[in-house]
Symmetry: C2
Subunit: 271 residues, 2 copies
């Protein structure tokens, strides 16, 4: 049973931790922005990786305003326990875009099928061209190159853009605002989106940037094609650089508030 | 690799869906409160189950006030997209209690180790005594009886109380408020909590009710023992009646806002 794989992975990870405590240099990966990653170990099973940015009021947002506020309603000293009331813009941090976000009556975040939350992960690495051009996009050629090497995109996959933007999350370059207020970061080209819609049953599209459409987009053509088709999106995904191009499984802890258009999610991967 | 197990499970599930569409009666489980479950199939792998209640302003809370409010900041007709600002009491719906919730300086929800979010699930079934007494508690005897049948509680487990309260989530009986304002629902007895702390490395304790302590508790002795010890809690867990007593794996999509005392989580299981 699959839980055996997972339990073995946990044991392996505990071993890695012990190695780390003994001063072993082989382990230890900790990305930007509080990303906690458990090092992969060379065995037949897998390890669990955290694909989620820690987020707070400083986390970059599309509109540039803080996406979360914490108000302490109870505190340990006076009340004997701590509790915050949170005010959250649904599209903050590592989060989901449900079909309803860009449609009149698409599925809300609580209506996404559970079978579409545990899916094969396909990583499209465009770091080289994104290094040269912050407005770079995933194109049909990028998808074709991935398929050439890895075979067809599996049913219900999450197809994820790895632009390298995760490393910039604490820098102004993450939004890439210019003097005129325009934004500059990579995303999916509408033609690549059309290709995924026509030729695959991918459940989700993910980016390691603020938006499925690249920063300069004025028409949000990728959002308007992808979400009304009943597929969902993930923005600000972390840790993609630790994943293989194919073969990992993404576990999407989408929030489940009734009628939501999306929301901050805890996303893990097994690889 | 473990993702192979998962991908096979997804294939199996798709087969089950096809069977369902063909009118097969074997599949189809949908619990209360929007709980979406994928039927288990008889094979060597596993299926994914949703252990999370859909929640909204009507979802029962410990204090009796709505735990979430949605304010529509943008709407499709006028703005071309939908987006809500959410106001959320951290301890609403299917949610996490981080150590910080009942301690001065314990771990916040974003600091829980990722290795403690994918863990063996041990289900302690007290439905029979909870049927007879809404103030029933998990006792050391209940834990001993589970161990007698299933063996030791595995390292890093989540030990979960199945009281059957999940079926009452839309009824006043879920809070069980009496005329004097007292609450009545099952929880963990402080002696069982002490046993888990002393004899196991369980990472988490879970209940299918509003609180780790049973309703009548005035001293929250289980909260004050468990959370400051660096372990975490899950409240309002759904779907436990579908799980085996031992052998399933719980995947806890805890939220990752910096410094939080807990928060609504998406929780899945593989069994």
């Amino acid at each position: 049973m699959c839980d055996v794989c997972v339990m073995n992975a946990v044991k392996d990870r505990m071993l890695s931790r012990r190695d780390l405590l003994r001063g072993g240099a082989a382990a230890g990966v900790a990305g930007a922005a509080g990303l906690a990653a458990v090092p992969a170990v060379a065995d037949a099973h897998g390890s669990v990786f955290d694909m989620t940015h820690t987020y707070g009021p400083d986390f970059p947002t599309f509109f540039g305003e803080p996406g979360i506020a914490l108000e302490q309603a109870f505190n340990f000293e006076e009340n004997g326990f701590n509790l915050f009331n949170l005010t959250i813009n649904e599209h903050t941090g590592t989060h989901i875009d449900a079909p309803l976000h860009f449609s009149e009556d698409g599925k809300s975040v609580d209506e996404i099928e559970v079978g579409n939350l545990v899916v094969p992960l396909c990583v499209i690495d465009i770091r080289e061209k994104a290094d040269a051009d912050p407005d770079a996009q995933v194109t049909p050629d990028d998808l074709a190159a991935w398929i050439e090497v890895n075979g067809d995109i599996p049913d219900r996959s999450c197809v994820a853009m790895l632009s390298g933007w995760g490393d910039k999350v604490a820098e102004p370059a993450y939004r890439g605002a210019d003097d005129a207020g325009g934004l500059h970061f990579p995303g999916f080209h509408p033609e690549a989106t059309a290709m995924l819609l026509e030729q695959t049953s991918a459940a989700a599209m993910a980016v390691d940037t603020l938006s499925l459409d690249h920063g300069p987009s004025q028409d949000f053509a990728t959002h308007y094609a992808w979400l009304p088709a009943g597929r969902y999106g993930i923005e600000n995904l972390a840790g993609l650089e630790q994943m293989p191009p194919a073969g990992a499984t993404l576990i999407v802890g989408a929030p489940k508030h009734a009628g939501g258009t999306g929301g901050p999610a805890r996303i893990l991967a097994m690889a």
